[in-house]
Amino acid sequence: MSFPWANEYKPGHPLMQWLDEKLPLPRFVYNAVGAGYPVPRNLNYMWNFGVLAGFCLMLQIVTGVILAMHYAANAGVAFDSVEHIMRDVNWGWMLRYAHANGASAFFVVVYIHIFRGFFYSSYKAPREMIWLLGVVIFLLMMATAFMGYVLPWGQMSFWGAKVITGLFSAIPLIGDPLQQWLLGGFAPDNAALNRFFSLHFLLPFVIAGVIILHIWALHIPGSSNPTGIEVKQESDTVPFHPYYTAKDGFGLGIFLILYCAVLFFAPNMLGHPDNYIAANPLSTPAHIVPEWYFWPFYAILRAFTADFFFIPAKLMGVLAMFSAILVWFFLPWLDTSPVRSGHYRPLFRKFFWILLVDVIVLGYCGGSPAETKYVLISQIAATYYFLHFLVILPLVSSIEKPEPLPFSITEAVLGKDEGAVLNATPAAA
C-alpha cells in the first residue's frame, strides 16, 4: 500500500515503456525505494539501521561466497585452508577479516535496529508482523553466525560447537540422541563441520527471503516515525528518493568509516586468540566464551546453577536462554499502551534505559569467566530482564500518564500545522 499522494511512475524512454508493460521491475523499485514511496518526513538517524543491516547481509554474502571458493570443509584441512586464505590467497586476509568483522558489524547494526524498535515501540499495531519477522531474522542470524564461527576449526570453533549442540542434550529423553543427530557423531567432527558449512551457505539466502517479507510487511502501513503518530496528510511525508536515499547514503558512509577502521586497524579485536590454535578434542580452552554478540544470552544460560523445583539447572538455563529471545515475539501484546514513542512516555522511557544497561551488564558477565561474582550479577540481571518484559512493561502501560502528543508529524516538525484546521493544503516544507 502507499498513500494516495504517492508519485506515479511514468516511464519516459520508449524502451522503459516497453519494459513497464512486460515486466514492471523499474516501477516496483520506484514504488518501493524510489520517489513513489512517501515516508514520514521526521525520521531520525535511528531509522538508518534497517538499510545498514541489508548492506551488511550483502557484504557477508559477497565475501562469504568468495571465501567458500578457497575454504575446504574437512576436519583434516579446514584449519589449514583458513591459514591458506590468510597467507597465500591474493587479498585473502582482507576478505576473511571483512567477513569475520562483517558479522560483528551486522550484529551491532541489528542490535541498534532492535533497540530502536524497543524505544519507539515499532512492534505495536499495525506493525506486529514486521516485528515478528524481524525476530525470526534475528534467530536465523544467530544460527548462521554460530555455524560460521565453527568453520575455521580452531579451538573456540570446536568447543563452541560442542557447547552449543550440548544445549540440546538438556532436553529430557530425546536430548542425547538429538545432539548426536545434530552432530552426526558423538563429538563435533567431519560430519558436523560439513553440514555446518552447507547450512552456513544456505541460511543467508533464507534470511534474504525473510527480509523481503519484512520489507513487504513494512510497506503495508509504511514506516513508523519518532513521534509514533501515524501519517495523516501529504505534508507529513517526503518521497523516499531523494530524501532518504541521501540520508541513508550519509549513514552508510559513517558506518563504512567505522567498519574499515576495525577491519584495517584492529581486525582481531573482537576475536579470540584461542581460535588460532587448531581444534583439539582432548583439551578445552581455559576460558571458553562465544562471540560477543551472544554474551547477554550466554550469561542467562550460565545464571542457572541450582535445580528449579523439578527442572534440572541445565535444562532451566537452556529454557531461559531461548525464552530471552522468544519473549520478544509477545512484545506487541505485552506493551498495551496506546502511545508508541518513548518520547511521550516518561515512565517507559526510564525503564527502556534500565533495560539497555541491564543487557550490557549481562553481556559483560557473559564474556567473563564463570566466577561466583559474575554468576551472581548474571542472576540478578537475568531476573530483571524477564521482569522488564513480563511485569514492568504491562504494568507501566496501565499506570503511566503519557505526555500530550502533537496533532500531526507536520506540527511536530514545524511547530504548527495548517492542515490541523483546513486538513487540505499541505504545509510548505
Partner: protein, 187 residues
C-alpha cells in the same frame, strides 16, 4: 465430465459423498505417505554414519599409572579419564552419604569389584560437554579433589560425582572390562 445419464443428483447439488471424493482422498493420502517416506532418509542421513558408529574399542595399559595419577585416553573421539585413586581419595569418596547427592551413586557402583582404585569415566562434562580439568599433571582438581570444569564451573569429587555447579549428572562411566590385571578394554 461423464455423460448425462451417469450424473448423480447429489453431485449436481453438491450434497452428500461423491464418487470422486474417494479418488481425491486416496490420491492425496498416497502422495502424503509418499512425501513422508521421502522425508525419512532426508532426516536419517544426519545421524552418525556407519564408520562413526563402528565400535572403536580402546585398550589401555594402566600399569604405568601410579596412585594419584590419571591419564586421558580416547574413546569414540572423546576423552576418557583413567585414574588410579589413592586410599585417601577412596575414603573421601566413601565418607559422603550418597543419598544426599544430586546424582546418587557410591564409588563401589562406579568402579569394578576389587578394582575400586581404578576410576574410569568419560572426560566429558555432563553440562555442555567440555573436558574437565584434573586428569592432567598439575591441573586444578576443584574443591572436592576430583575434577573441575572451567567452562561453567561444575565441580566433581574423587568418585567423579557432580557436587557443585550446573552439570546434572556424574561423569559417565563407559562400558569397560579388565582383560588382565594391567590392561583395560573400553567399549
Amino acid at each position: 465430465m461423464a455423460d448425462e445419464a451417469s450424473i448423480d443428483p447429489a453431485e449436481v447439488t453438491g450434497e452428500g459423498v461423491r464418487r470422486r471424493d474417494f479418488i481425491n482422498i486416496a490420491a492425496v493420502s498416497f502422495a502424503g505417505v509418499g512425501g513422508l517416506a521421502v522425508l525419512y532418509p532426508l532426516v536419517s542421513q544426519m545421524s552418525a554414519s556407519a564408520d562413526v558408529l563402528a565400535e572403536s574399542s580402546t585398550e589401555i595399559d594402566v600399569s604405568a599409572i601410579a596412585p594419584g595419577q590419571a591419564i586421558k585416553a580416547v574413546f569414540r573421539k572423546q576423552p576418557v579419564f583413567v585414574r588410579n585413586l589413592t586410599p585417601t581419595e577412596i575414603s573421601e569418596a566413601d565418607k559422603v552419604d550418597a543419598a544426599s547427592l544430586r546424582d546418587p551413586q557410591t564409588l563401589d557402583e562406579r568402579t569394578k569389584e576389587g578394582k575400586k582404585n581404578w576410576l574410569i569415566t568419560m572426560g566429558v562434562c555432563t553440562h555442555l560437554g567440555c573436558v574437565p580439568l584434573g586428569a592432567g599433571e598439575g591441573e586444578v582438581k576443584g574443591e572436592f579433589g576430583g575434577y573441575f570444569c572451567p567452562c561453567h564451573g561444575s565441580v566433581y569429587d574423587t568418585a567423579a560425582r557432580i557436587r557443585k555447579g550446573p552439570a546434572p549428572k556424574n561423569l559417565e562411566v563407559p562400558p569397560y572390562e579388565f582383560t588382565s590385571d594391567t590392561v583395560v578394554k573400553i567399549g
